[in-house]
């Protein structure tokens, strides 16, 4: 009781929220992996997992159990402290970003006034973990993956931030709930279609998904930065990747698709529908496109995406001044 009074209502809210987030992250990853396998399968004229549970629904649970039972192999020449830390570092910031995501008007752990900045800052930390993992593994393919990842993330972070800025300009607040509230009449995807396209491209690159999956390009780098990881350590990278996908889609839903807004159904349902629709879009990319080459990827970011995002910002500013 003392503890509760000490923490206050905010503290209790945080603890309950974090437990809920961990549960959500796990269930979401299990679902997304199953969804990816099903989406891939149906695009490839095959049924996908069918054995464990109806339509293979609990296949990923079985996979997770298998991964937990696996031996954690540590190659001899790795830089141990960093090698051990990397899977944790990749996962923690992912959890923290959930603090500010508004699932509905009331379903939000902490409605911070710097919400969007916090999300972008924490999602940048993933690069650090990838660099740690790649460098510590003492494997040339891993280093390649890590170096590619850094170059890629720096290149795509800039257009992402500038694109988000153009939305912030329209709303005048970093608060995610304010951004949703500002979309009472029109979703921002209608007012800012170019920004939406830019955001989706950058988000795909940020989450290392095909056609921008160079840090882990299977046919070139074997498995990229996580080549030397096995068992649950590998699973943590996997979990982080899928959770990142959820986060970028959630941010896109808030920025462009009106967040929890929608008729009849409760806000949370609308929010999740929008998020999973966007995730489906990103999966669709993966199973349709070949991979771009590394130099083309960086050139594309610096020569096309960054100028376009600045043009978009400028046009937004002009439009706001005029109207």
């Amino acid at each position: 009781m003392d503890l509760l009074t000490h923490l206050g209502i905010e503290g209790v809210r945080m603890i309950v929220g974090l437990v809920a987030v961990i549960a959500l992250v796990s269930v979401n990853a299990l679902f997304l992996i199953w969804m990816e396998r099903k989406v891939a399968a149906h695009m490839q004229l095959r049924p996908g997992p069918m054995e464990v549970g109806p339509h293979g629904a609990i296949q990923t649970v079985a996979d997770a159990v298998k991964l937990m039972g696996k031996e954690l192999i540590t190659p001899e020449e790795v830089d141990r402290p960093i090698y051990y830390l990397a899977p944790i570092v990749v996962f923690l910031p992912v959890l923290l970003t959930f603090l500010v995501i508004p699932f509905s008007q009331t379903w939000i752990i902490k409605d911070m006034n710097v919400g969007i900045v916090l999300i972008l800052a924490f999602s940048t930390l993933t690069v650090l973990a990838i660099l740690m993992a790649g460098w510590a593994s003492n494997n040339k393919y891993s280093v390649f993956g890590a170096l590619r990842s850094v170059a890629q993330n720096i290149a795509y972070e800039i257009p992402l931030l500038v694109t988000v800025m153009s939305i912030i300009l329209m709303v005048g607040s970093f608060k995610l709930t304010d951004i949703v509230a500002a979309q009472g009449r029109y979703w921002f995807i209608l007012l800012q279609p170019l920004a939406f396209i830019l955001y989706i491209i950058c988000a795909t690159a940020e989450t290392n998904r095909t056609p921008f999956d160079l840090p882990e390009a299977e046919s070139e780098l074997v498995a990229g930065f996580h080549t030397e990881y096995s068992g649950m350590r590998f699973a943590l990278f996997f979990l982080a990747e899928y959770t990142n996908m959820f986060i970028v889609s959630a941010v896109a839903a808030v920025l462009f698709l009106g967040g929890w807004r929608g008729p009849i159904l409760p806000g949370v349902v609308w929010f999740l529908i929008k998020v999973y629709a966007l995730i489906f879009l990103i999966m669709w990319f993966r199973w349709t496109f070949p991979r771009v080459r590394f130099d083309q990827l960086v050139t594309f970011a610096w020569k096309i995406l960054i100028p376009l995002s600045f043009v978009n910002l400028l046009l937004t500013a002009l439009a706001l001044k005029i109207f």
Partner: protein, 370 residues
């Protein structure tokens, strides 16, 4: 080699023998300058099975099944080359119907090889989905060939003097239906792959083979035709029933991996044309020559026979000393020459291009390691 001539700014990257896109057990040592390649050296021999030596220790019939296992993707061309060489040696004339059946099955096999290449190549470029579409198409051919040859991959169908099993109406009907289906699929392949911006950017201007280089290294097959040299054994040294059919030799212009891709796709269409004509004109008659000796004991002599496989010129050179076993068999395989030039063209390219160029040559490593 490994320790010599390395400058301090470069380092070695070992690609293979266990790597997702070396198509078998090829190992390539890459001297890297960052992500760029300074030099490359292939290491072959991981799948060596001494086929040529095996030939010296068994009689002509017993060596026939080996030919399905040298290039397992276009096994029937190897069957064909070897059978024709032995037929030349013992002077057996193959009946017309058997020649037609050989051409039909051979071209179907070429289609499976090209389809598999198409899927695997795009997988190397990072697109997974086309692979399964190709396998869906390929499955139909495998079923058809299974009906006549009795196996799905390592065929041993041709015999000295003809073929052992005739094709039936079921097969003919199935083949016609398949060709119709395959043609309808090409619209999808072209829309989703050939016109894809990412694919075009990955493929154009990469891994260029010049005409001079091709002639220097003895490149054959689609890799040579991609560079603009219209050399195809089926036309230049016609064999079997090929001169009776009307087909074209598609060629490229620049010799980059995009041209090799286009050439292979067009070749599939030409294969379809050949099969259709052969089915239309299929004569009646025996499928096996009369008076093929049970025990083959050719006179002293030498014979060479070249055929066009999906990868290029395959030549069988047999030396007979009058025994029931060949004195020596030398197999000239296309992938060996193709691989040698490929390594040359890696220079100053990225790791991603290595995989793309390797895929575009369509090497079958067991063929090199025969």
């Amino acid at each position: 080699m490994i320790t010599q001539g390395i400058e301090e700014k470069t380092f070695w990257l070992n690609l293979g023998p266990q790597h997702p896109s070396t198509h078998g057990v090829l190992r390539i040592l890459l001297e890297m300058d960052g992500e760029y390649i300074a030099s490359a050296e292939p290491v072959i021999g991981y799948g060596h099975r001494a086929h040529e030596h095996m030939a010296e220790n068994r009689n002509y019939h017993q060596f026939l099944p080996n030919m399905g296992r040298v290039d397992y993707l276009h096994a029937l061309a190897y069957n064909h080359g070897y059978c024709m060489a032995v037929e030349k040696l013992i002077g057996v004339v193959v009946p017309e119907r058997a020649e037609y059946i050989r051409v039909i099955t051979n071209e179907l096999n070429r289609l499976t090889s090209h389809l598999l290449w198409f899927g695997a190549y795009l997988m190397d470029l990072g697109a997974f989905t086309p692979f399964l579409y190709c396998f869906d198409d390929r499955e139909h051919i495998l079923d058809l060939l299974d009906q006549v040859t009795g196996s799905r991959l390592t065929y041993c169908y041709y015999r000295f003097g003809g073929v052992p099993k005739d094709i039936d109406d079921d097969f003919i009907f199935g083949t016609r239906a398949f060709i119709k289906r395959l043609r309808s699929r090409w619209v999808d392949y072209h829309n989703l792959v050939t016109k894809n911006v990412i694919f075009i950017h990955r493929a154009k201007g990469v891994g260029i083979f010049t005409k001079e280089q091709c002639q220097l290294y003895g490149i054959t097959g689609p890799s040579l035709r991609g560079s603009g040299i219209p050399y195809d054994i089926r036309k230049s040294e016609p064999y079997s029933a090929y001169p009776l059919f009307d087909f074209e030799i598609p060629i490229g212009e620049n010799g980059d991996i995009y041209d090799r891709y286009i050439v292979r796709l067009q070749e599939m269409e030409q294969s379809c044309r050949i099969i259709e004509q052969a089915l239309d004109k299929l004569p009646n008659g025996p499928i096996m020559a009369e008076k093929v000796p049970k025990r083959i004991k050719p006179a002293v002599g030498e014979v060479y026979q070249a055929v066009e496989t999906a990868r290029g010129e395959f030549g069988t050179y047999i030396v007979s000393n009058g025994d029931i076993k060949p004195y020596r068999i030398k197999l000239r395989v296309p992938s060996f020459g193709n691989l040698s030039l490929m390594v040359e063209s890696f220079k100053d390219n990225l790791v991603a291009d290595v995989v793309a160029i390797l895929g575009s040559i369509d090497v079958v490593i067991p063929e090199i390691d025969r």
